[in-house]
């Protein structure tokens, strides 16, 4: 890819959940496309530190690692203050951090439900409130949330996950209306089964069943989701807001 084709050249992005999976693939792709990045993770690791050092050097972009727990409002505030102190225009926010805890409907405790909502919804809303305030004055920005096809179609044993991701869809649509006057676009992706740690431990029989539903007959790769995130982050999608895009290989 030549420098002329870098879709995010000159832009600054904040990405949560960068440690692995879709978040890591997105961070890598954004760096390759010229974005400076605030890379947010819950935990510090030597492997991650080394990875961003190499990535930053290879792609000639700045990557600021930020380690904080999205469920801790004080840690969120500290992270935002750090981002603000960098005095950079924030162009893109990608909310990827999330978790799942599968259980059948009648086996799901309210405490489990609250925990999943805390991580997948409330903390992301709070973080987005703060970040979009940084975007307001620039009158431009793109927010990309990660929902799930289970939020649209439902999925056996995923009451808490699917409902928290459905909440993300509602929030995405409402935010897109309220933030449009500031030039901020808000969209969400709904990935299907993607090869990540989150799906690695699923039983073979369930994976086989899922594979049977996919028209393209393979599980998606994190890079395939990251590519769509890149599109929504870039000016290529300047007239798209309030949309939920399925990335599922044609799941039915």
């Amino acid at each position: 890819m030549t420098s002329n084709s870098k879709l995010l050249k000159g832009k600054t992005a904040i990405i949560t959940g960068c440690l692995k999976g879709i978040g890591r693939a997105t961070m890598d792709l954004f760096a390759q496309n010229g974005a400076d990045i605030f890379a947010c993770c819950q935990f510090e690791s030597e492997e991650f530190k080394h990875h961003i050092e190499v990535l930053s050097k290879d792609t000639c972009v700045l990557i600021y690692p930020l380690y904080f727990d999205l469920c801790d409002s004080e840690q969120i505030k500290t992270a935002i203050k750090f981002i603000r102190s960098a005095k950079r225009n924030i162009d893109v926010l990608v909310n990827i951090a999330g978790m799942t805890q599968d259980a059948l409907f009648h086996m799901t405790t309210i405490d489990q439900l609250k925990k999943i909502f805390e991580v997948n919804f409330f903390s992301q809303i709070m973080f987005t409130q703060y970040v979009t305030k940084l975007m307001l004055q620039n009158k431009t920005g793109s927010v990309i949330n990660i929902s799930s096809i289970s939020a649209i179609d439902g999925n056996m044993g995923q009451l808490s996950y699917s409902s928290s991701k459905a909440a993300i869809i509602g929030a995405t649509k409402t935010m897109s209306i309220e933030l449009a006057p500031y030039g901020i676009r808000v969209n969400a992706l709904a990935p299907g089964v993607i090869k990540t740690d989150m799906t690695a431990n699923l039983p073979i029989d369930i994976l086989d069943k899922q594979l049977g539903k996919i028209k393209l007959k393979y599980f998606g790769f994190p890079l395939e989701v990251a590519s769509s995130i890149l599109f929504l982050a870039s000016d290529m999608s300047s007239y798209i807001t309030g949309q939920i895009i399925r990335i599922d290989g044609g799941m039915q």
Binding site: I80, K81, R84, S85, K133, L134, L136, Q137, P181, Y182
Partner: protein
């Protein structure tokens, strides 16, 4: 620039009004201070004073004078 000058500047810049009008203005009393202008003002004040306002305070920030009271909570003396 003093804190009160910074505070006033945030209103003047966001709402494009004269400084002598400030003491009487409140949310929606002028067309520029609508819900969109409100968030622009809050963002300016947060950046100017390096604070992060609680949602309840953003809602309560209903006038120029009320805003002064609210900023005291964040140790901003005007």
């Amino acid at each position: 620039m003093t804190n009160i000058e910074k505070y006033n500047k945030a209103f003047v810049d966001n709402f494009n009004i004269e400084e002598q009008e400030l003491s009487s203005i409140s949310y929606q009393s002028i067309s520029a201070w609508d819900s969109i202008g409100h968030m622009g003002l809050i963002a300016s004040l947060e950046e100017t004073f390096d604070i992060m306002m609680e949602t309840d305070d953003i809602i309560d920030f209903s006038s120029y004078l009320k805003g002064k009271e609210i900023l005291k909570k964040y140790d901003i003396e005007l």
